[in-house]
Symmetry: C2
């Protein structure tokens, strides 16, 4: 492609409209803003979310799809999966010749097929919250596209945001998302369970932070199976029985304790 810009022009000069204003849209919007990429507008069904993100990015916002700016090069969609699937026809009708990208781990690329000419997926493998800045430069961005030309555009966009742009097809992305549910959402639930146990004994959660940090650090240099410690892997049934008795008022955690201990034991065989 011929480059008509001068040497000081931004590397990525396409303009973006954000469809959605949740945790992920917020993180992406701020990353785009930080990289100097032109965000034209924010759409969200709820006024409050739309305004919050639009204010941060210093752009206008709308709450109806009919009002979305029709001049953008890229429409980047980060909506809750169920809502998104139903809105594909309306979203692509905004400007059918534009590039449409969704950011969901578990939605295949072919959701766009037959609705628009240029499409792809841009999936950051990270956990986001609106009020927390995450370093998107260390976040792997997984890209999929309808054809090489679209891939090149998304790869360039990805490189503006992150040092870690990778290719994943829809099956791989679904596996990444499922693995992320275990490594992030389910891990966090282990913290929730630990917090409940400590709370009963008036102990603060923060006493676990050095342990949590070390547990996360261990798997940076050991396979998770090799990093496994604790009574279940040693089959220390004395301790495990004590723990189950301690959980007598929490049948849900008892069941979880048994199921995970069994899994730990089996994974070592």
């Amino acid at each position: 492609m011929e480059n008509k810009k001068g040497p000081d022009a931004p590397l990525f000069s396409l303009s973006v409209v954000l469809i959605g204003a949740g945790n992920l849209a917020t993180a992406l919007g701020e990353a785009l803003f930080g990289a100097g990429i032109s965000v034209l507008q924010v759409y969200s069904r709820t006024q409050e979310s739309a305004e919050l993100l639009a204010k941060r990015l210093r752009v206008p916002c709308v709450t109806r799809l009919e009002e979305v700016n029709k001049q953008a090069d890229i429409y980047m969609v980060s909506l809750k999966d169920d809502a998104f699937v139903n809105l594909v026809p309306e979203i692509t009708a905004i400007r059918p010749e534009a590039l449409f990208v969704h950011t969901a781990g578990s939605i295949p690329i072919d959701i766009w097929e037959g609705h628009c000419r240029n499409y792809g997926v841009f999936y950051p493998l990270q956990t986001f919250r609106k009020r927390r800045e995450v370093d998107i430069r260390t976040t792997p961005e997984y890209i999929e596209a309808d054809r090489p030309e679209t891939y090149a555009v998304l790869e360039r966009l990805g490189k503006e945001l992150s040092g870690k742009v990778r290719r994943a097809d829809s099956a791989q992305r679904a596996a990444l998302h499922l693995a992320a549910v275990f490594a992030c959402n389910f891990t966090n639930y282990m913290y929730v369970a630990a917090d409940r146990i400590l709370g009963e004994h008036h102990l603060p959660f923060e006493v676990l932070l050095p342990l949590i940090e070390e547990t996360a650090r261990k798997v940076t240099y050991l396979d998770p199976v090799e990093a496994q410690t604790g009574p279940a892997v040693r089959q220390d049934t004395g301790i495990m029985d004590k723990h189950l008795r301690l959980l007598k008022n929490h049948p849900d955690l008892q069941e979880l304790y048994q199921l995970i201990s069994q899994g730990i034991y089996t994974s070592k065989l």
Copy 2:
């Protein structure tokens, strides 16, 4: 207490014998060694473990309790729980007037009662591996003792090793240990499960490391319940059904997925 030492004498001048040479004994031994505390000897039933740790600490080792040095002020016991409980009479017979300390989260202090005159518990809340140096200065050390004089000795020992010495009775320590199983051992099993899922799609575990790091970091400033994200907390049943189908060849992980998702949903109610 009168201080007969000169200003350059070490603050803590009592000598220690280590009974056990596993992950925890190794971490403690190295911390004692690093703090300039006199370790006289290492005991382990297995020659290889005994030698490995003794060599690191530059002290002799023995593999039979009858051969343990009878001159130590403190005998610090880090054995597998079942083995330890049976050996209490033999261990305390080494030198009944010494101070006996065990390091197990789930064994109450009264295991020592009737066997020796001075006893306590010294429990570091951390995960250890022999080949990995953990910063024990950031590890909380939980102390319990038979009486204030013993507590003072253990507190002083603890402060030589860590900036975070705390008091916990046996019930609190059992809760700490159980909470640690969830926050460390079970969390690691979530990493194991994620690794299995990725492996099937020929994706390396390391792609999850930024996510794992952020998940651990989030709970340094948010309550775990507040930090919860993912399809279960949003009750995004479309994604959850897809995930269960992806796990069709792993009935164990399917069951775990359902149980944890239910727990996440309930904990938000």
